[in-house]
């Protein structure tokens, strides 16, 4: 039966390419790649790698930005959750999480860049009144050598991810009851949350946190937009070497890919050590039994930081929009002197192709991922087996740095003689779409009240009828949400498209990122805005379609 194969297929699809990719990065790193004349093992690629100027700084920036961005995002999310009181502001933040999550990393990064650049919105608003600047100052704010703007860009995007993961995990901890219990012992509410909920929440979101560390320490597109340039982060350097017309550079790029794997592993190891340390400190803090000290500070921080991050993200997108229609815009003026549609008109002809490619790749990979995920979950229901332990493998593509195995995968494909096609890119995207679709669908699927299925069976429905006429329609809303997440993930992919497409297949994302070097804000505004809006279409359908279909079914309105 096909269904039985779904979980196996799922694991093979995720694991095999990663293993193959890693092996094909490892061999050339030690000089073995017969296609390019590398026949015997040698350490030459590594010598070349360490002789690169600035390599140590690249590694340091990658490592530090991964750790700092994760720590800050996690802190902001936990601070917010601790301070939640169900006020209007809190609900508002919660509602903004999904659209924020759907904005591709590159678009958010451009938005931030336009905001904080020397001639960006913030400088304009503060000038000349506060700063006295009549000209844009000669400061390196975006792409600063310390990677601070890179960290800020990552934090803005990782906050919604970690928040959503936490919100999904929280209900099983019954936080209200725990906090109520602690309050009855005299703890102030925010402190109570930190002391009785946070320690149990963290283990539940540990894998997503690891995924954030891996992502942040190896990201390419955000680093190309916001990261330092001389030298760039390790991942960006690797991409440059790999794309070098001199094919011998590939050996060094492969060594770099393995180094990146080591950097991410080191970041994870350091984090693991930090976990121990924080657990110690928290343990001591909880044991001391303070009930009031610090409550106000924690509460204010909880509201302030998340609000700031959310505001920056949205104002950034607003900035993209303004730039895309700006005519002449003199420096300290907050708004352009004139508006024009000419940037859009000029971009339109070249937008159509990449948009079609983006949509095609996103839709096909999402449909494949949804089918596989449904198959695996339905099989789990029918066999009555517990979720298999092999499922942590789902996180593999999220924890192994993309850049470390995608190269090897390209090499494998070249050896097999596969041409860069849309199908190949779909396959590459599937690696990253599948985990997200599966994770967001499995929640709803496993929580589905088993009595519905029992009822349908005792009414004589077959297993297939049960699936098509009960489970699928009743789970339509979460299924569409999972698909919207899948679309958003695919639309935002830069590296798999760029590498597997060998630069010949362009999507909105690859185009937008490639514009970063040129620095034409008006054109970037157009492309980044299109990139930011595409995933929204998916979410609008995911929210709107069930409302429309179930307009006269009140029982289907509340179902999440």
């Amino acid at each position: 039966m096909m269904l039985r194969l779904a979980p196996v297929l799922l694991v093979i699809l995720l694991v095999a390419p990663i293993l193959a990719g890693l092996v094909m990065a490892l061999l050339p790193a030690f000089g073995y790649l017969p296609a390019l004349g590398g026949e015997s093992p040698t350490l030459a690629p590594w010598r070349a790698l360490f002789a690169e100027p600035g390599i140590c700084r690249s590694v340091a920036v990658s490592l530090a930005s991964g750790l700092v961005a994760t720590a800050v995002s996690l802190a902001v999310v936990l601070l917010y959750l601790a301070a939640v009181t169900g006020s209007r502001l809190d609900r508002w933040v919660r509602r903004l999480v999904s659209p924020l999550l759907s904005i591709p990393h590159a678009a958010a990064a451009f938005g931030l860049a336009f905001l904080i650049a020397p001639s960006g919105l913030i400088a304009r608003l503060a000038s000349p009144g506060l700063t006295g600047w009549e000209q844009p100052p000669d400061l390196l704010i975006v792409q600063d050598p310390w990677g601070l703007s890179l960290i800020a860009g990552l934090v803005i995007k990782e906050i919604p991810f970690l928040l959503l993961m936490s919100l999904a995990a929280l209900p099983q901890l019954d936080p209200e009851r725990r906090v109520a219990m602690a309050r009855s012992l005299g703890y102030r509410p925010t402190l109570a949350w930190w002391k009785v909920v946070a320690p149990s929440l963290y283990p539940l979101i540990r894998l997503p946190v690891f995924a954030v560390i891996a992502y942040a320490s190896s990201v390419v597109d955000v680093a190309m937009i916001l990261g330092p340039t001389l030298p760039p982060t390790l991942s960006v350097s690797i991409l440059a070497w790999f794309s070098d017309p001199d094919l011998d550079m590939r050996f060094m790029a492969s060594a770099g890919a393995i180094l990146q794997l080591g950097v991410t592993a080191t970041a994870l190891a350091i984090w693991w050590g930090l976990e121990r340390l924080v657990a110690r400190l928290m343990g001591g803090w909880i044991a001391r039994g303070g009930r009031r000290q610090g409550e106000t500070g924690l509460r204010i921080a909880g509201k302030l930081w998340i609000l700031l991050a959310t505001a920056i993200a949205f104002v950034g997108i607003g900035g993209l929009a303004i730039n895309s229609v700006a005519g002449f815009w003199r420096f300290p003026d907050a708004l352009p002197g004139s508006f024009t549609a000419s940037h859009w008109v000029q971009a339109l002809p070249s937008l159509a192709g990449p948009m079609a490619s983006t949509a095609l790749i996103a839709v096909v990979s999402t449909l494949l991922a949804t089918t596989l995920a449904l198959g695996a979950l339905e099989n789990e229901q029918r066999t009555g087996r517990h979720p298999s332990r092999a499922l942590w493998l789902l996180y593999l593509p999220l924890i192994v740095p993309q850049i470390a195995f995608l190269f090897g995968l390209v090499v494998v494909m070249e050896q097999l003689g596969t041409r860069p096609t849309h199908a190949l890119i779909v396959f590459g995207h599937l690696l990253f779409v599948l985990p997200y679709v599966f994770l967001s669908l499995s929640e709803a699927y496993r929580r589905f009240d088993p009595r519905w299925s029992q009822l349908a069976l005792t009414l004589g429905a077959t297993r297939n009828t049960l699936f098509w006429r009960v489970r699928l329609p009743m789970l339509l809303a979460p299924m569409l949400t999972a698909m919207a997440v899948g679309l958003a993930v695919s639309i935002g992919q830069y590296l798999p498209t760029q590498l597997l497409g060998a630069g010949r297949v362009t999507t909105v994302t690859t185009e937008a990122v490639s514009l970063a070097a040129g620095g034409n804000r008006r054109v970037i505004g157009v492309w980044a805005l299109v990139q930011a809006c595409l995933p929204l279409a998916g979410f609008i359908i995911a929210i709107g379609l069930p409302k429309l279909l179930w307009a006269n079914r009140r029982g289907m309105q509340g179902v999440p």
């Binding site: 009595r451 519905w452 009414l459 004589g460 079914r553 009140r554 179902v559």
Partner: protein, 211 residues
Amino acid sequence: MTIPHRLDLRDICISLDGQALVELEARIGPGEVLTVMGPSGSGKSTLLAYLAGFLAPTFRATGQVRLDGRDISALPAERRGIGLLFQDPLLFPHLSVAGNLRFGMPRATPDKAARVEQALANIGLAGFGDRDPATLSGGQKARVALMRLLLSAPSAVLLDEPFSKLDTHLRHEMRQLVFDRLREAGLPSLLVTHDREDAEDAGGRIIDLAH
């Protein structure tokens, strides 16, 4: 519609971790209601899950369930011909009232629409076919759930405290309706409950699991 059915439970023993939880031996004739009583946690729901065909794999069960002389213990739930009435009406929220009634009707049923209409009239809900089930009152929902069960033409019926969530006057009315209809249809039924009044209204034998 009134072919007589009988349900034989032979030497049923369900155990959990090697400890016997439920032991039962009973014959239920056409139109008869057997009531099984017992305190919370005594294994009543477990017994019904076993008879209906979805016992959790943590339990072990031995014995035979014979429906009209045929051993059904090895059949999957959908082929046993045993209907279930739950504590909640559980009307499918995405289907209309008529859609719910049709859901369980055997494929070959002739003239489904007319039978649905007639069934609705039968429980005092004529013309409710197009309604959203979420807009019905508790008592109306319970009646639709009962009718859906009967239209699925089961050969035996299991009831898991189906009245415990209704308020007092509704409860009495529903009991009458349910037991009358089951008797009329000649169905052997097994009711599990905490409530002595349920057992008395059912009018059949009572087995107490608490020994």
